[in-house]
Symmetry: C2
Subunit: 109 residues, 2 copies
Amino acid sequence: MKVIFKIWLEENGVVAFSEGRKMLLEAIDRLGSLNAASKELGMSYRAAWGKVKATEKALGAKLLNVTTGGKGGGGAVLTQEAKELLSKYKKYKKRIAILTEKEFKRFFK
Amino acid sequence: MKVIFKIWLEENGVVAFSEGRKMLLEAIDRLGSLNAASKELGMSYRAAWGKVKATEKALGAKLLNVTTGGKGGGGAVLTQEAKELLSKYKKYKKRIAILTEKEFKRFFK
DNA sequence: ATTCATTATGTCATAAATGACATAACGATG
DNA sequence: CATCGTTATGTCATTTATGACATAATGAAT
């Protein structure tokens, strides 16, 4: 038997940040493109874009600096705010994972 | 902004115990009847029964001692194993809730 | 001005989870 | 041995979440 957990942030009752959005932002950061990120994650561009938009709305913050046109068609890079959110979330999640596992052993083994 | 989490136990990749099942077992324990418990929780008997059955299968353990017939038609009471599981889960969940909140304040405030 | 790969967005389809419906089986009680 | 409220279980419907499709807009580069 093992323990599984999901953790996310909410603002006014709607999801503001979660694991899926973390992965998406990471991919955008690495690839410089929302379109490329969506492909890498095996989801449609539409779905990826919707997640970014939903997060921005929930947080009232801009996550991406986007450009269109030119050779390559444009791209997207994370705002400073997005980078900070991503960093905090990752550290927090990691910490909770450790604690969850530690306590699980204490209670169930 | 606030943090939300869900935590559950899995055995061989399938859910073995979770918050909903906790509430169901608590209601059965209090009411002495799966049917009454399902009504209290606002779910169909079928759904409640399915949860119990799924849990028993996942854990390979018997959770309820059931009787049918007689005045009142029968009923269900928790086995010792179910009581122990319930107790452990509640304590564990409580502990994780405290830690999650504490760490949230530390990281995001 | 044309091109091109991107971002932007509305609408529709599909899948997965959840619950509802119907019906059988049970068995102590009277 | 008929009754009654419970447990037991298959099947069907509904809701909800997720992704797919289609199409427009953008704007630097050529």
